[in-house]
Amino acid sequence: MPELTSRLGLALPQGESGRDAALTIAPEDIRLVAERLLCQDWFLEDICGLDVAEGLAVLYHFAHWSRPGRVVLRVMLPRDNPECPSIEGIYPGAGWHERETRDFFGINFTGAANTMPLLLDESIERPPLLKPEQARISTNQLWPHGEWVGPAKGHALAEELMSICGTGEPGGQTGGETS
């Protein structure tokens, strides 16, 4: 079961952190979780790449028209072969966000219909937002332990998303990054 973390203070008043739940999920679960979020009427705000010491992270920000809060999905990818399934088939609006993330971070979104560069020239050698090694910081610094607790027990949405993770191929059972 992938490690899922969620904010302890889920009932905190809105506006304290800008998010309600942040879940770290394995790349192979992203489509399942995105599907479930679409069924519950969440919309995709953006997809954001992030270069950290542990590898490349992809952050998916979801918001809702009538429910307050923001759901953040975090996917950690290895630096040498950053590959993540595309959610374009579920959220077509994700297509451009993924192409942009590919331009900026060199992350390959598998299954996307269009892999042409969106904003940058094709001939750019090194994705511009990758950090030099000495500049990278650890996720522990970015997402401090004190702020997060283990499995997101007690939060209905987090529990539901957690329950559908790791049900696919056996590879999904190996677990994600521990932040």
Binding site: Q14, S17, G18, L59, W65, P68, P92, E122, P128, I137
Partner: protein, 388 residues
């Protein structure tokens, strides 16, 4: 290719070539933009046409891409404010607010009440200006040349007012962490009130002159209908979403600043067509006027800037934050990650036009080319914001 082939060189760049791969026989590939009046600057759209009808459309972006996100990662926090005015030059203050808010949330900086009110007043004035420019330019797209002259007459007044306390007329960088750059001057309030009194009459004239015009309505009605599901799948926000009947406004849904103190309606129209989006924006000008009036009436005394606000090269704590505001085009969001140094670790700019435009290929399918122009304009695109 045959030497001397008259079509030589017309096959286009790799985008056009890739696009043409899926083209049907006997269809025409049309390249619209990046220098086309109705693409508002530097948007390029590849179109596959069957006569006058669009079979397929694909926007090609990046012509005004400036890598603002990388710029955010090579300068001090405070130095990023001028960039915000250049991401979206039409609603610069909303972007100012998004950046200020993201940093304030990260570093837990409190904003004095008076500053929050000034932010509301200036941002709403800026929103009116953005909608007015959209209105004029959109009608220009549709073939009406006069309205933009009227719109600019009103815009000039707002620009004069805003110049007084921001120091600039378009690319504002007027917010600071913990407040705003200058207090409201004595002349500002009275001139703003004069503008508030002037606008309802002007809007009535616009309604008589343009909105109720049968030709305009004929061109916009039932053109480019976005339904709820499409809006959700593409993450549409702002007037584009509210034109599809969804009363989602960040000022209400994720209240920031002092917006929860004001009474204002969220205009929606359920038709989802270009006319609905047009009407939402016209109504929103009135909404902004109402908010400004309430904010001026309730303006509290106090600081316009937190006395011990961070200045110059300053280090916020490590961590991350996300802050969203309602811009003239929809939800502006900034994700900020900090490593605790003087320079941001990661800045992600979520621009509303980016998501709003991404639904265009689906929307344009099967429409007339002239309707595709009407649809593009109804999305209220600001290309620098899309390309960032």
């Amino acid at each position: 290719m045959i030497a001397g082939d008259p079509c030589r060189g017309l096959e286009g760049d790799s985008y056009a070539q890739t696009f043409a791969l899926e083209a049907r026989e006997e269809s025409l590939i049309l390249n619209m933009g990046p220098q086309h009046p109705s693409t508002h600057g530097v948007l390029r759209v590849l179109l596959e046409m069957d006569g006058e009808y669009v079979l397929r459309a694909e926007p090609v972006l990046g012509y005004i891409h400036r890598m603002h996100e990388a710029m955010g990662q090579n300068r001090a926090y405070l130095q990023f404010f001028p960039n915000m005015g250049r991401v979206d030059y039409l609603h610069a203050l909303a972007w100012n607010w998004a950046w200020a808010g993201a940093v304030e949330r990260l570093a837990e900086i409190e904003v004095p009440e008076r500053a929050e009110y000034i932010r509301v007043i200036t941002t709403e004035l800026n929103r009116i200006n953005s909608h007015l420019l959209w209105w004029g330019a959109y009608l220009l797209d549709l073939g009406a040349v006069t309205p933009i002259m009227y719109a600019f007459e009103d815009r000039e007044i707002v620009m004069d007012i805003l110049q007084e306390i921001t120091g600039s007329r378009l690319t504002y960088a007027a917010f600071r962490f913990g407040g705003v750059v200058a207090d409201i001057s004595p002349g500002f309030a009275s001139r703003t009130r004069e503008f508030l009194d002037r606008m309802p009459g002007r809007l009535e004239m616009y309604r008589d002159l343009v909105t109720d015009n049968a030709i305009l309505r004929g061109r916009l009605k039932d053109v480019g209908v976005i339904d709820e599901m499409m809006a959700r799948r593409y993450g549409a926000t702002g007037p584009v979403l509210r034109g599809s009947g969804i009363a989602y406004d960040v000022r209400r849904a994720e209240p920031y600043g002092v917006y929860n103190r004001f009474e204002f309606p969220i205009p929606t129209y359920s038709e989802g067509d270009s006319l609905a989006r047009y009407q939402v924006r016209m109504d929103e000008i009135e909404t902004s006027l109402a908010i400004i009036r309430q904010a001026l009436d309730g303006l509290p005394e106090g600081h316009f800037m937190l006395p011990d606000a961070p200045r110059g090269k300053w280090k916020p704590p490590a961590g991350e934050s996300y802050f969203a505001v309602e811009g003239a085009r929809g939800k502006i969001g900034i994700y900020l990650a900090s490593d605790g140094s003087e320079i941001p670790y990661r800045v992600k700019l979520r621009s509303p036009s980016f998501s709003n435009l991404s639904l265009f290929p689906e929307l344009a399918e099967g429409t007339l080319l002239s309707d595709a122009v009407a649809i593009l304009g109804s999305l209220d695109l600001v290309i620098p914001e899309i390309d960032r």
